[in-house]
């Protein structure tokens, strides 16, 4: 068995023996931990160049498809009246939703003092930033004339018109641009002490200078730490309602419409929980291979997998509850359009998507009831991918089934995507991975400072317990 497999098994054994796994298994000296976590940054990982080239190639497909769309117009896409949103908004909601787990981990779990977040928060925050970048592409392209995208922002124009703030779309623009900015500074502020570690351990002068510039001259002075800690906490407290607000604003794009299947007050919590659900799934999809490649089983332990599995279960259950409420309200409202929508979702031309969404989103989170599944990296990896497929399908289903058969049967229309639609979504996946690989290569992706602090705290606590045990033994 290779070292990674041994460590993984050791992690599970430790969990069994200690009645609950530890969030950090290594007790190596700080310098050793720091050098280990910096190795991917200064030496790279196996197969990085190949992966880099593949994702770069895939991103090029994305850029070509976007270029073609802009040059020709969105007639290259499959959407048309009545299904005007289709892939573009599906992809937008999917990507923006994925971003939520990052902020959830970094902000909400920070103010709830969940220490286990410390080893995965940077990873998840980077995922957030890159996911928002992908998400931003879609509404802009969907405008048809993307060069007018800036009209959504209130700037003093010679036309003397302003955006209409009674519409959900400017809310969306405000929410997402704020979200990106706050996520970025939160991520960067957390990164500053680690950039200083990279600067101080850089193998070459050039690297020391580059990391030195980005570390802003951080030297860990007590005065700086005092400002830093409170600023980080405040950013966490501010980002907490922000996470909940962003997908709520996105859901209002839907809920404000009168369309059956969209016109519902449950949308904000439904979207937020769905977002965190799919986001955690993507964190797992990215973290499990990274943990294996870089042999980090003693820093990202079984405990992390379990904790995320439980959160997937909770948020997945809220999503499923919403499916139930939607059906109940359709029946309870007595509106023939609402009832008709539920019927055609279950039996209509897109029934396959309904059953896949209901099936996968029931199965995946509920498997998390089993400890064997929660503690198994392989199971979690497979489930996380299924969840992401299911959640993409859910947004597709939500948009297309509501739009393709609205109030007037004469305007009913079956939606079919074109190859350009497919190229763009596939391309953004590559582009996302491309950005993520750059992140893994150039930024310490496991927080070194926080890992060392955690190590110190745990070692101190263990020493104290040991002392007490000795005292009891001598007394007894």
């Amino acid at each position: 068995m290779d070292a990674g497999g041994q460590l993984a098994r050791k992690s599970v054994e430790y969990a069994k023996a200690a009645d609950g796994p530890s969030i950090l298994l290594t007790r190596a000296p700080e310098g050793v931990i720091a050098r280990r976590l910096l190795r991917p940054v200064f030496q790279g990982g196996p197969g990085w160049k190949l992966a880099f080239l593949i994702t770069l190639g895939g991103s090029t497909v994305c850029w070509l498809a976007i270029l073609y769309t802009i040059a020709t117009g969105i007639g290259t896409w499959g959407n048309n009246i009545p299904v005007a949103w289709a892939y573009a908004i599906t992809n937008f909601v999917w990507w923006i939703g994925i971003g939520h787990a990052g902020t959830f981990i970094s902000a909400i779990l920070l103010i709830l003092e969940q220490n286990w977040r410390n080893s995965i928060n940077r990873f998840a925050e980077a995922m957030t930033l890159f996911a928002i970048m992908q998400a931003g592409i879609f509404p802009v392209l969907h405008l048809g004339r993307p060069w007018y995208a800036y009209w959504i922002f209130p700037y003093p124009s010679t036309m003397r018109v302003w955006p209409n703030y009674r519409s959900a779309l400017p809310w969306d623009a405000a929410a997402i641009s704020t979200y990106f900015t706050v996520s970025l500074i939160f991520w960067y502020l957390g990164l500053v002490p680690d950039l200083a570690v990279a600067r101080d351990n850089a193998p070459t002068v050039a690297k020391r200078r580059i990391y030195g510039i980005f570390a802003l001259g951080w030297r860990g002075s007590a005065k700086a730490w005092r400002h830093y800690q409170i600023a980080y906490l405040i950013l966490g407290a501010l980002a907490t309602p922000l996470v909940l607000s962003v997908h709520s604003a996105v859901s209002l794009d839907f809920a404000i419409a009168q369309l059956p299947g969209w016109h519902s007050t449950i949308f904000p919590p439904y979207f937020v929980s769905g977002a965190i659900y799919s986001g955690f799934a993507l964190v797992l999809t990215l973290m499990i291979p990274a943990r294996r490649i870089f042999q980090l089983h003693d820093i990202v332990t079984t405990r992390h997998l379990e904790a995320m599995g439980k959160l997937v279960l909770v948020t997945g259950s809220i999503v499923y509850y919403t499916y139930g409420v939607e059906m109940f309200i359709a029946w309870y409202s007595g509106s023939e359009f609402e009832i008709g929508l539920v019927e055609q979702r279950l039996t209509g031309p897109y029934a396959w998507s309904t059953w896949m969404v209901y099936g996968l989103n029931f199965l995946c989170p509920n498997l998390m009831w089993f400890k064997r599944v929660r503690t198994s990296a392989v199971w979690m990896f497979v489930i996380s991918i299924l969840i992401n497929i299911a959640m993409w399908l859910e947004r597709f289903w939500l948009i297309v089934t509501s739009l393709n058969r609205d109030f007037l049967p004469s305007s009913w229309h079956i939606y079919k995507p074109t190859y350009v639609d497919g190229a763009i979504i596939l391309g953004t996946l590559f582009f996302f991975m491309f950005l993520f690989l750059l992140f893994l290569r150039f930024v310490p992706f496991i927080p070194i400072t926080e890992t060392n602090e955690l190590r110190h705290m745990m070692a101190k606590e263990e020493a104290r317990l040991e002392r007490e045990r000795d005292e009891r033994r001598t007394a007894g």
């Binding site: 720091a34 703030y165 001259g217 005092r226 600023a231 501010l238 309602p241 602090e453 110190h456």
Partner: protein
Amino acid sequence: MNAGLLAEYESPEALVEAARAMRRAGFTVMDAFTPFAIGEVYEILEIPRSRVPIYCLGAGVLGGGYAYLIQFWMNGFDYALNVGGKPLGSVPAFIPPTFEGTVLLASLTAFFSALAFSGLPQISAPVFTVDGFDRASVDRFFLGLEATDPRFDPDLAIRVMHEAGALRVTGVPSAIRETLPA
């Protein structure tokens, strides 16, 4: 810190003890350089509470107020839009951007004020010339005594620092080391 003495310790506990000893010896203008934050040090070195929160509060109120008023002015006066006969100042509709404005300005203030109060960015600093200071970000804990301390006395300070278990004491910037007694 600009000039003075820098003592190196092996653990946060040793640093805290040294800081206490230095306080007892009458030194006041000190700073610590550590890989992670150590709460006890704040009290011993009498580092004042951060002003970041109050600035953030102010910025949040300002950002929210600005976002609300500008919407009110844009959609109610400068380019009045009558949507479904609703009042021009439609309070509920203006809430989401107001919230975003609050969060945005408060967050930016938290980030930039924390950096500014810490005197960052400052890429080059005298302490970086000290041998072994590169471990201050990983596994060494430094206590610095400023030369501006009213009771600055290198001989006494070096003795106290060593008694508290310093691995070594260096002058800052390191060029002045030769002028100091060993």
